[in-house]
Amino acid sequence: MTCQEFWSTMPELEGEAAPEAAAHGRECTACAAVLNHHGALAAGLRGVAAEWGRLKAPGRVEARLLAEFRGQAGLAAPPPARRWWSPVLAWTAAALVVAAAFLLFAGRVRQPRTPANTAAGAEAAVTDWGAFLPAEMAGDASAGEFIPLPNADRLPQDTDLNVVRVEVPRSAMIALGYSVAADRASERVRADVLMGSDGLARAVRFLDE
């Protein structure tokens, strides 16, 4: 067998060479050397295959294809997976909101203590606004006196009064006779507004004079 004939059998692709080719491979040193190189090359290719064996398409391709598949099959996207803690979280959040709302309501819109549901009590309410305040509001050292609003004397007497704490621009104090520096007019100040059960304000006091 000649070298040409030997290589035409493609011995490097065969697991086991035919007897005649195997004999040539043993006898011809040049062909044996090349065959040896082919062996090394095959090992190298196996190495590259192993090195790249873990490569796969990025996950985003699967996501895009799934969306296309659903569209093609007329399927809706499945709902997002529910996690065990999501209902717990939802209920906790709801409970916190309710508690916060309650505290806010109790702090801001607490019913003032009415001295009595009597005519004398009602009289006292008009002149002694502080008696209607919750204890923590009445004792507020930073608070001034309640000032009747201009139209308060024309409103019906009301013993069912509420105090609402608000923030207003300092410029709002001007209407009640306070002097306010121009450079502080836009500052915000806290105020307690005394509201009747009819929703109309009777008096106001400022906490940050």
């Binding site: 190189h37 090359l41 190495g47 296309e68």
Partner: protein, 202 residues
Amino acid sequence: MAEIPAETDDELLLRMRSGDEQAFTALYRRRQAAIYRFALHMSGSAATAEDVIQEVFLALIRDDCGYDPERGTLAGYLFGIARKLLLRQLERRQADVPLEAGEEDSVLPERAARPDPLAALTRKEGFAALRRAVETLPPRYREVVALCDLEEVDYAEAAFVLGCPVGTVRSRLHRARALLLEKLHQDRHPRLDALDPARSLI
């Protein structure tokens, strides 16, 4: 207890055709990696490989290319779509390296047996040189190396993918390997010993 045999590709495809999303996912996960790597070997570009894998499975979803189980396997069919897309891309990019050689030319053993430079290189460097050499092969040789040597597709399956007789697959692989040896010698790259894990330890 006997193991339940995994569903064949054709069974998964049937379920997929009836709108079964899980069947599609199973089929995709089973076949995507090899086709992605084939596209990567052929194009040398992760972005191109990503485009190709997407187009291949889109064709399957839309039933664009008419897979016929009588003519070959689903894996071969998917490789075939990938190959067409890649060749089209390569034509557009005109990225062929002009290694002038006729398809059935033989490589003289004497030429390939020139002495190697005795450079001491690590195995990893040897692999890198070999990958570069594969990338410079003309597409018709590159694809057969990528399929048969790197993805271990058998000759019959490769013949189906390439649309040629098994004998042509073998002769192209023979030629491709000879070109690779020649390329490695030309580039004075690592000794072939460096490619062989066993030899590199000697």
